[in-house]
């Protein structure tokens, strides 16, 4: 952990510049520019609200103690962290192959490429969360006192995505199927996380199974998913305006640290032959 931090500090200007390159390059030559980074989640929100809120009639409890009861807002509080994680991870995964030219010609700490991509999505994430805060305020929520904690969890979610991105980016260098494989996995993961439906649905299902005499620890398995914890925590803070449970919080912190340590370890193990494999 210390080595990663010192490494990244040593190349923080490079990190900053590459991040700027990603941010500026992302929507270059589009008429709407950075606005696209808001349109995309907005479109997703509208689609999911229409499908799950109106057609499938997903029932969600009102926020406690905020008293908010808007499906779209409830959805977005989990959708934005998910989008960030998903984009940062897949972006980080492709960053080595995408910069093959650079890797083969210049030496610099390669993990910076992955980190820059993840950070560039952090910029988007921050803007989105800022807009969300304003909207929540408009609807009568009070997310402001919770914002410092939100930022802390955003940092751990960043570490989580960075770790996965580091591990997958080297895997992708040696084995290009990784990116397509991950594409499918992300869809499964999305529906395995309580984003478009509440956790109570899983709880009800588990009770039903239990009544039928099936002894599957469904809730336990379901809650192993770190993204379940992250979405719960973000919803607690932004939508409900209350402290997340200690268990969830520690789980998020642990997931972030473990992910980044393993990811970095894998990365340094396999980066040696990278330039020739690209």
């Amino acid at each position: 952990m210390v080595t990663i931090v010192t490494q990244l500090r040593g190349s923080r200007e490079l990190l900053a510049n590459l991040t700027m390159r990603e941010v500026r390059g992302k929507y270059k030559r589009t008429a709407l520019g950075q606005i696209w980074s808001l349109i995309n989640p907005l479109a997703m929100m509208l689609i999911f609200t229409a499908v799950f809120g109106q057609v499938l009639r997903v029932k969600v409890d009102p926020g406690h103690p905020s008293g908010l009861h808007v499906f779209a807002l409830w959805l977005v509080c989990a959708l934005l962290p998910w989008n960030f994680m998903s984009n940062a991870m897949t972006g980080g995964m492709g960053s080595l192959v995408g910069n093959a030219n650079l890797i083969k010609k210049v030496y610099f700490p390669r993990e910076v490429l992955v980190a820059a991509t993840v950070l560039s999505w952090d910029v988007t994430f921050l803007t989105e969360m800022g807009v969300l805060t304003v909207v929540l305020l408009a609807f009568g929520g009070m997310p402001l006192p919770w914002l410092p904690l939100v930022v802390v969890f955003m940092a751990f979610l960043t570490l989580f995505a960075l770790g996965l991105g580091l591990a997958l980016s080297v895997a992708n260098v040696y084995f290009r199927d990784t990116q397509h494989f991950v594409g499918i996995l992300m869809q499964i993961w999305f529906y395995a996380t309580p984003i478009v439906y509440p956790f109570t649905y899983v709880h009800d299902e588990a009770t039903k199974l239990h009544d039928k005499g099936w002894h599957i620890p469904l809730e336990f398995l379901y809650r192993l998913n770190p993204m379940e914890r992250f979405t719960t925590v973000f919803r607690n803070l932004m939508y409900d305006n209350r402290f997340p449970s200690l268990a969830d919080s520690l789980y998020c912190v642990g997931a972030g640290l473990v992910s980044v340590l393993i990811g970095y370890w894998l990365f340094t193990r396999f980066e040696g032959r990278m330039a020739e494999e690209l």
Binding site: L14, N101, K105, V106, D177
Partner: protein, 401 residues
Amino acid sequence: MSDSAVVVEGVSKRFRLYHQRNQSLKAALMRGGRAKYEEFWALRDVSFEVPEGSMFGLMGVNGSGKSTMLKCIAKILRPDNGNITARGKLSALLELGSGFHPELSGRENVYLNGSILGLSKRELDARFDEIVDFAGVEQFIDQPVKNYSSGMYVRLGFSVAINVDPDVLLVDEVLAVGDAAFQDKCMEKFADFRRAGKTVVVVSHAMGTMRTLCDRVAWLDGGRLVEVGRPDELIDRYIDEGHAQRGGAGDSSRWGSGEATLTSVSFVDARDAQTTKVRTGDEATIRLTYDARQRIDKPVFGLAIETLEGVYVWASNTRDADYVPDCIEGEGVVEFHIPRLMLLPGTFDISASIVDFSTTHVYDFRRHCYRFDVDPGTPRESGGLVSLGGDWCNLRSTEKS
């Protein structure tokens, strides 16, 4: 040795040659596990030291491992065995402008590329004008680099890389970029570099440049180090070996693709008689006869003179002299007329060549194909290789009376 800028110890580098690359899942499943590959040693147990403040050349035929060596020094490739230690900041000129983002402006790219090469924002601010000025792209610095001409692109890349101000500069065949004016600027920059006590490691096929620029060269062949030594000795042996391998017509100092050949090279005096003896200050002509078996567009004839010891005295080619015919076909002759031969007494060898306009493709190269002696004549000057034809004059006292 304590004053080595780069120490290479027993370095080996192995590449994997895949018969069928399986980067797809189907292929992997069908064949089970990773692809079969053969090992290929690009470098084997290479050791040498680059003295600090020197210009060090790496030479060898294509595939001998020069560029691999350079990439290992640059830390782009990691050697499988052995160690490379480099003192101070490294900068590699492998492919210029490779870090540029086409959609970003020249200014943004200078900062981006500079930070990739290890410069801080403050250092870049301080050098920005110099970088842009050197590249000569002031007018276009706020345009996206995708609109740059390839020359501007490369010049800006070179300019950033060289302004990193490294302690060790690694250069791979990039000396051949830009127009003549820019090349001159590059050469000047290299000279500044050496005056500042910095080290340069260069890979090149341009033996003439290597001979004049380098203090020491390492000769690689098939991934192994043949020898490290002074460039004059080693480059001659290298060139000779190159010809021996090419097999030629028993003439060990001649090579080329043969579409056009130099049928004779001779040295003639003022009375148009072939000679091997001239005097300093005499009129003389070097006459080349050629035979072009097919039409050759824009051929370039070249001549060079060296001393017996291999000191490179002079060279000229028809491209630099702006005397290039549109094409040649069949037999013909071309002459180089010397009104006054300004060589001091000694024995000299002439090398002659026909190459294409880019001077990269050799039709025929005859090295040391004609030897001549220079005897004392006028002007009579005391020693060295060339006569400057000057006069001693203006002797006077500067005592105040």
